[in-house]
Symmetry: C3
Subunit: 271 residues, 3 copies
Amino acid sequence: MNATSDTSCAWKAWPDPDIVANLRRMREAAPLVHGLTNSIAAMFMANAALATGASPAMIAAGQEVTQFAAIADAIVIDLASITEQKAATMLDSATAAHRTGKPWLLDPAAIGRLTFRTQFARRLLDLQPTVIKANASETLTLAGIDGGGKGADTTVDSAAAVDAARALARRTGGVVAVTGATDFITDGHVLRAVGGGHPLMARVTGTGCALGIIIGAFLGAGIAPLEAATSAVAVFAAAGERAGREAGGPGTFAPLLLDHLFRLDTHDGAR
Amino acid sequence: MNATSDTSCAWKAWPDPDIVANLRRMREAAPLVHGLTNSIAAMFMANAALATGASPAMIAAGQEVTQFAAIADAIVIDLASITEQKAATMLDSATAAHRTGKPWLLDPAAIGRLTFRTQFARRLLDLQPTVIKANASETLTLAGIDGGGKGADTTVDSAAAVDAARALARRTGGVVAVTGATDFITDGHVLRAVGGGHPLMARVTGTGCALGIIIGAFLGAGIAPLEAATSAVAVFAAAGERAGREAGGPGTFAPLLLDHLFRLDTHDGAR
Amino acid sequence: MNATSDTSCAWKAWPDPDIVANLRRMREAAPLVHGLTNSIAAMFMANAALATGASPAMIAAGQEVTQFAAIADAIVIDLASITEQKAATMLDSATAAHRTGKPWLLDPAAIGRLTFRTQFARRLLDLQPTVIKANASETLTLAGIDGGGKGADTTVDSAAAVDAARALARRTGGVVAVTGATDFITDGHVLRAVGGGHPLMARVTGTGCALGIIIGAFLGAGIAPLEAATSAVAVFAAAGERAGREAGGPGTFAPLLLDHLFRLDTHDGAR
């Protein structure tokens, strides 16, 4: 059975007026997004959030994380390059977010064959992430199905993980965004699809992490989870498509992606 | 009272002959600058120092820091992304620099609302940093005034922190450089102002950290603190202005900034 | 005695048909390369590996490293920005690789004046790195000769380290690649030389680290060490030369280098 055939799936794309309005709202709010990650792409994440219009902070010290969690408008927990020490800090933050109702995003990067992070990601599910952003392998793994993940890459088509995403969303009460050639976003009931993007995205490390913090920015602006995830995914795909048309390869693609995140015009489509 | 109205303020800009001569001198010395930071922008900092003409090293291991401090020509301590472990190493380094009279720079990044780093930065003041580079909020906080800092950003105009900078410089016996749309540099008596730069600088993480290590490079070449800070700030502003004219957004701005730091011609203005 | 005069030295360059064939083979294999590093250039390393055609993973957690070592096709150990904690993890990985016969590369970055990493690098020699990639100073230091290293830079010409490289290769039973204006590769008997590259490479931090992980990618595709190192060095030099012709400085050089690693055409030279 094709995972998308048993339900209506609404396609969304920039410059859908709702998405344009959400981007404008996010930029006006300039939310403070706390990125908890040991990712080697932390600078790229921060720059992607800044370019899109948010105010990122990648606070690392244990003493500061709790204090900052209270200040931040949203929290993004990214398991790429996780360490044991980092995991403890992440758990504290997710617990605080869960208790206070602050929106938080989980990026279960590269779970599957690596036992430590896989178990840790499953444990975080109990703290009900507002949004989970994952590729198909990671989504299948989180849902308890063998996803065959190979490092941070996936060999599984995103459509094959839609049922798992829906189940996962129902279990956490949140939203799941499955990334791939087509991105799927679901709250367990409604299903959205976003196309576009560019194949060079898979040749730049940290693009997935960057999308995670941008979803966090939309959440931090007070936009509802399904709309926040859909808008961020569509914004990211549009910027990626434009960057891909201009880039000479993955090296120039990365700065051009940031340029186009910055240049998306919220005065166009919404008027 | 306007903070700049009670004193003469000398405007400086590239290609002032003294600044050109200082850049030439720094490039000839190619000083070894030790960057102590956990900043996610450490690579950008190292690349900025390399592009300008210095020889940066971002040594991290506790065992190596002390040994390297003795070799380095200048030490740059940047609190962005500080951890408790890192703080201990930074304190050792600053103590060694203070004892041996080696120039060192303090970048009290994001102090204000975060208690740990704020207290740590205040403690480092006793070790008399040769130069403090800070935005207006951070300068006010260091001087004991509520600066309203929001993460690494500031909402306060640099001119509003000039009096605090002057007091701070008198207290430490060093130089304070307050960054903003206009940058102010003071040794507690003389006041310098540098304009230029580009608004895109605020949309790229780590530009402030990069300026810090470039000031460190001028210090490491044996240039007097007030001249070192003024020259580095003017060089950075000129490169930023040129990059801003060519960039399509914050993504392409960052590599173009490095290009222009590299391409500033010391044979032009001084002849 | 000129270090290259006592032996025949074969010059190699892209698009030598063997090198083109090796790149094609590596891209088809898309080997999983595990980068063990605390390098500030870890993102640049991962992006260089991705651009060239490999699948890099920069796993950091102690618990995961051992598990990942079993999955990875090759392991790259890079001492830039090493810490004591990281050293323990690296030793475990190198030991596992040595025991199971998995290819691994050692990049003894910045050894010489820093005692901790110098002793650690010498200790790793007993685990017989498949390839050592080092500049002249680092090669001399590893061979027990004072190399006069200054941070990660070198003031010694690569040709002056050829005898030391040959002795080192005989001792470890592996291959040594000495980088410089001319790169030399030897297994202790055969000597290869690769020219090209571009002076801007020395003005971008992490280019040496990036070459290391690309050699690791060729090793991970099952290519014999001497051919793997020669091919990677030639591929890197060709991409660097092309990037250097287009770049406006070190800032734009880095993304252009990644573009050209990606764009090297394996259908050209081999047909």
